[in-house]
C-alpha cells in the first residue's frame, strides 16, 4: 500500500521560497500568479494492508516526524 503525505506551511506562516518562485515566474512572463506556497510530498510504501490502520500509522508518523506541526499542516492520502 502506498501512502502519500502532503506537507504544507500553515496559512499565515511566511514562505520566502514560495515568494521567490512567484517572483521568478513573473520574470518568465507568467503574469497573474498571485501567490505561491511551496510544500513537500512524501510517498511511503507500507506493508500494512488495512487502510484504516495504515492511515492511523501514517498520521502518527506525521505528528512525530514528517511534519513540524508548529509551522506545517499535513494531509494523508492512501493510494
Amino acid at each position: 500500500m502506498i501512502a502519500r503525505v502532503h506537507v504544507t506551511l500553515k496559512p499565515g506562516v511566511l514562505d520566502p521560497q514560495g515568494a521567490a518562485v512567484r517572483h521568478s515566474l513573473g520574470a518568465l512572463g507568467f503574469d497573474g500568479v498571485e501567490k505561491v506556497r511551496q510544500g513537500k510530498v512524501i510517498e511511503l510504501k507500507l506493508s500494512e494492508t488495512d487502510v484504516a490502520k495504515a492511515e492511523a500509522q501514517v498520521n502518527e508518523m506525521c505528528e512525530k516526524l514528517l511534519a513540524n506541526t508548529v509551522i506545517e499542516n499535513y494531509t494523508v492520502e492512501i493510494l
Binding site: V13, L14, P16, Q17, A20, K64, L65, L66, N68, V70, I71
Partner: protein, 225 residues
C-alpha cells in the same frame, strides 16, 4: 563543571564547542563528545551542548532527524530533570524540533545563507547562561546559517516576552526572525537555544571574546551549585 557535547553526522562545531567548554571547566578532563547513537549519558553531567552544523544533511527539516536520534531521548530526560542544555545554531534547531524549546527555525527571509558578525542585544541576564552580561548591552557574535528565521505563534511569543525568556535579539535582523529573536530560554531557564555562535568568539585570536561571559557564567554557576 562537567560538560558533554553531542555529535551527529554532519555536526561541525562540536570540537569548537568542546574547546570553549574545556577552557572554563575548571579541571583538566576534556569535555566528552558523545555520538548520537549512544542511548545514555554519562552520569554526573552538569551541561550538555548541542553544537552547530548540518546534522543529517538538514534532510526533511533542519534538526528534525537529529532530534529523533537515540541520544536525544536521554538529553530530553536530562533537561526535564533540570539539567542545563545549550544549543547553538543547528543545536537550536534540534532543541525546537525535540520540543525542549518552542517555535521553529525556518529558511532565512532573504533565502541566502548568512555568514557574518552580528550585533546582539542581551535581553536578560536572569539565567546562568547570560548572568555574565549586562542586560541591555550589545555584543558582537558571528552567525552562519541558512535557517535561522525564528517563527512562533502569537501566544508563544507573548509567553516568551512575558516570562523574560528572550535571551538575545539581533540589533539588525539578518534573517527575518520574528521580533528579531536570536536566542530563547526554556520555562525553567536552563535550556538556551541561539543561532549565533558564542563558541567561535572566545579568544582574541578568533577576533573577539564576547562569547566568553556565556561559558564563564555557566561554569561559575556549576561551581557554586
Amino acid at each position: 563543571m562537567r560538560a558533554a557535547v553531542i555529535q551527529f553526522p554532519g555536526s561541525n562545531c562540536d570540537r569548537d564547542m568542546a574547546v570553549a567548554l574545556d577552557k572554563v571547566s575548571g579541571h583538566n578532563k576534556p569535555t566528552q563528545i558523545i555520538w548520537h547513537k549512544e542511548s545514555g549519558l554519562p552520569s554526573g553531567l552538569d551541561v550538555i551542548a548541542i553544537p552547530g552544523g548540518f546534522s543529517f544533511g538538514d534532510y526533511l527539516r533542519c534538526g528534525a532527524i537529529a532530534a529523533r536520534s537515540p541520544i536525544m531521548r536521554a538529553v530530553v530526560d536530562f533537561a526535564n530533570k533540570g539539567g542545563y542544555v545549550l544549543g547553538v545554531c543547528n543545536g537550536f534547531q534540534v532543541l525546537t524540533e525535540s520540543g525542549l524549546l518552542p517555535g521553529a527555525l525556518m529558511r532565512n527571509a532573504g533565502l541566502k545563507f548568512v555568514c557574518k558578525d552580528t550585533d546582539l542585544r542581551v535581553e536578560t541576564s536572569a539565567c546562568e547562561f547570560t548572568s555574565g552580561y549586562k542586560a541591555g548591552s550589545t555584543i558582537n557574535v558571528p552567525i552562519a546559517h541558512h535557517d535561522g528565521n525564528f517563527n512562533a505563534d502569537t501566544d508563544t511569543l507573548k509567553a516568551l516576552n512575558d516570562q523574560d525568556r528572550v535571551a538575545f535579539r539581533y540589533v539588525n535582523n539578518p534573517n527575518g526572525s520574528m521580533e528579531d529573536i536570536a536566542g530563547i530560554l526554556s520555562e525553567n531557564r536552563r535550556v538556551l537555544g541561539m543561532m549565533p555562535h558564542p563558541e567561535r568568539l572566545n579568544d582574541p585570536l578568533l577576533g573577539g571574546i564576547d562569547g566568553n561571559p556565556l561559558f564563564e557564567s555557566l561554569a561559575n554557576a556549576m561551581v557554586s551549585a
